[in-house]
């Protein structure tokens, strides 16, 4: 077979695979719409619970104007996370009503003449993060104001420093966005080989064997379309994450390209194994669903692995999706490239999974059976 006819075959087969993929409604739904929907829902529900976004609405009831009270009042104004109501409550009773109506999270009542500063919190929420945080902040303000009023310098101070593995802090948005990209590509791979079951069932595979088709071209063109689909998934999820949810990117191009390549191939290999062991479409869907469901929740896609019970974590540490998600996070958010040690671990474990699945699959797949 000449080179020229090989290229012609590749072109036509690529066109055929492209049309077959994008004319399939299932592909649009499961590979494109579904991951986008998941990303948006999760970010809308959980995207705002990060500590960056904490804020509480408080009402301040003014008392007598002592220097200490004035100091506390002024200091409250500097605390960004405490948002004071525009309109001042007339008295403590009105403020209390606001609290009951949940119009404010807390009420700070400055003393009439000396005495204590009152902090009113909603009882139903007494254990909430807001209650804890507001009382903590207020306590600190009072201590500082008292010290200042007494002219004493505190002997101990706390310097806070946020520590994170990368150059930027990994927000939940970044975490979920990269996780969803990994999930979307893995799903496309796991579910994307159902065509191999269908082609065996309807005899198309046999028909191809009857023609002088170059099966390498057939496989290559199919993989090329898969990469295209994966790229669309990456682009779409990244755009939504960055434009609408403020995700941060710090991409290492080479690292990303390699993780993307190996990940896409590896999950396609696993899909091929499922096709090889499935006699029918139903059994294919069953196995693929089971595999994807397991990985979705055990590979740190939606939540950090640290939130999983101790006894489950060893399973997470063998699943390929764990390493794909980690690899993508490293390469897309932290800007880690091929120089980092985890890079090769991520790549290696995915490669082992993909290669093993592919080799077993090609032993088991009945090319010739109708």
């Amino acid at each position: 077979m000449g080179n020229k006819s090989g290229i012609r075959q590749f072109g036509k087969l690529f066109g055929a695979h492209f049309k077959m993929t994008f004319r399939e409604k299932q592909v649009w739904f499961w590979s494109i719409f579904y991951p986008v929907l998941l990303l948006v829902i999760f970010l809308l529900i959980f995207g705002r619970t990060g500590s960056d976004d904490f804020s509480a609405r408080i009402a301040v009831v003014e008392g007598a104007s002592t220097p200490a009270a004035a100091g506390v009042k002024e200091a409250l104004g500097y605390v960004d996370v405490l948002e004071q109501t525009e309109e001042k409550p007339a008295n403590l009773d009105e403020a209390r009503q606001w609290l009951i109506d949940k119009e404010v999270d807390a009420v700070v009542a400055l003393p009439e003449a000396g005495g204590e500063i009152k902090l009113l919190l909603n009882k139903e929420k007494q254990n909430s993060v807001t209650a804890q945080a507001v009382s903590g902040i207020l306590n600190q303000l009072v201590v500082q104001s008292s010290l200042a009023a007494a002219g004493v310098e505190p002997q101990l101070t706390i310097a806070t420093e946020y520590v994170s593995a990368g150059s930027d802090k990994l927000s939940y948005t970044d975490f979920l966005m990269t996780g969803m990209i990994a999930l979307a590509i893995s799903q496309s791979g796991l579910f994307g080989m159902m065509g191999m079951v269908e082609m065996r069932r309807n005899g198309l595979l046999k028909r191809l064997f009857l023609a002088p088709v170059d099966l390498r071209m057939f496989g290559l063109s199919s993989m090329a379309v898969r990469f295209l689909l994966s790229l669309i998934q990456v682009a779409l999820l990244t755009l939504i994450g960055v434009l609408f949810f403020g995700a941060h990117l710090n991409v290492d191009p080479l690292g990303f390209a390699l993780v993307f390549l190996v990940g896409t191939l590896s999950f396609a290999g696993m899909g091929f194994l499922i096709a090889a062991v499935s006699k029918s479409m139903d059994s294919y869907m069953g196995i693929a669903n089971l595999a994807s469901f397991l990985m979705m929740f055990l590979s740190g896609i939606f939540f950090d692995l640290g939130s999983l019970p101790e006894y489950i974590r060893p399973i997470s540490h063998v699943l390929p999706l764990t390493y794909f998600a980690d690899g993508l996070r490293d390469a897309m958010v932290y800007g880690f490239g091929i120089g980092s040690g985890n890079f090769w671990l991520n790549l290696g474990i995915m490669a082992v999974w993909g290669l093993t699945a592919f080799l077993i699959g090609s032993r088991l797949y009945k090319w010739n059976k109708a």
Partner: protein, 314 residues
């Protein structure tokens, strides 16, 4: 029969077993250039296994296959370039259109017949832009045959092209087979339908239990059956008239057997013309009115029954 070089396909002493089951047990035949050669036989006779071995999908345990003077294994790519196959299941790209299917398959071959030609030949001009999914069974089958002609092959295999189709769709496919013949192509056909084999074939190969029972033209095969034909007459005068005619029929030398049931007379005769002539002369003289006359045509079905001793089931 032509000279040896006229054989497009030569199959010799093919054997294939699956476990203890002998699916093909010494099948051999040769197809001449330009003929429609039909393999018929009941389900499980070994037709499909034979065809798949010839098409290179299965390896025979024993025996040889020569296609246009080439052999599988040695000339695999070259054979694939020169033959066209329509497999039993209409295997097509469901999400591609008629035209796109032809276009993809065309890219596999060095020699190509224009897609226009094929669409016209299999009569799919109106459906060229439709996705295969939306086509009827007959249209899909026509496209599958179209795909088998995409490389303008010398030798075409059609494996049960009309199974499951309605009579009109079946006739459309017959037209295509006739067109192929007029183009000088050699067609190897398998079918379930005796009528189809009789209508289309130059020669028929009857296969049963993995063996060739008979090979010849349909006419010659029918001619090999016993000479007696079945003649039926019904009389307007009822049982009495029939009984009178029965006596006259028995006098004829050609009649082998005569049976009467009420007003109906059945005669098996080696010479229907002579028997009928004598009988009509008698009824004319006696003034007996004959209501119905029929001579049953012998068909390949009778050939099959006679050669295998089995009932034929579609």
């Amino acid at each position: 029969m032509g000279t040896k070089s006229d054989y497009v396909l030569e199959v010799t002493d093919l054997h294939k077993s699956f476990g203890t089951v002998k699916a093909v047990d010494g099948i051999g035949f040769a197809a001449e250039r330009g003929e429609v050669f039909t393999i018929i036989g009941p389900n499980g006779a070994g037709k499909t296994t034979t065809l798949e071995m010839i098409e290179g999908l299965q390896k025979p345990d024993r025996g040889s296959i020569s296609i246009l003077g080439m052999e599988w294994g040695k000339d695999t790519e070259a054979i694939k370039m020169k033959i066209g196959v329509q497999p039993q299941s209409s295997a097509l790209f469901d999400l591609l259109t008629v035209e796109e299917n032809l276009d993809v398959f065309a890219s596999f071959y060095e020699k190509r017949r224009p897609i226009e030609d094929i669409i016209e030949m299999v009569n799919l001009s109106e459906h060229r832009g439709k996705r295969v999914k939306t086509l009827s069974g007959g249209q899909k089958q026509r496209l599958a045959i179209g795909l088998s002609m995409i490389n303008d092959p010398e030798l075409i295999f059609l494996d049960e092209p009309t199974t499951g189709l309605d009579p009109q769709a079946r006739r459309n496919i017959w037209d295509i087979v006739r067109k192929l013949k007029s183009l000088g192509k050699t067609t190897i056909l398998t079918t379930h339908y005796m009528e189809e084999a009789e209508q289309l074939s130059d020669r028929v190969c009857i296969v049963d239990q993995g063996k060739v029972i008979a090979i010849d033209s349909p006419r010659a095969l029918i001619g090999r059956l016993t000479r007696e034909r079945e003649v039926r007459l019904t009389f307007a005068g009822g049982a009495g008239a029939a009984a009178a005619a029965e006596g006259a029929a028995r006098m004829g030398a050609a009649a082998v057997r005569v049976e009467r049931e009420q007003d109906r007379l059945t005669i098996w005769t080696a010479n229907p013309e002579e028997t009928l002539y004598a009988l009509f002369r008698y009824t004319h003289e006696e003034g007996l009115a004959v209501e119905q006359v029929s001579i049953r045509e012998m068909s390949l079905e009778d050939v099959f029954i006679a050669f295998t001793g089995k009932e034929w089931r579609d």
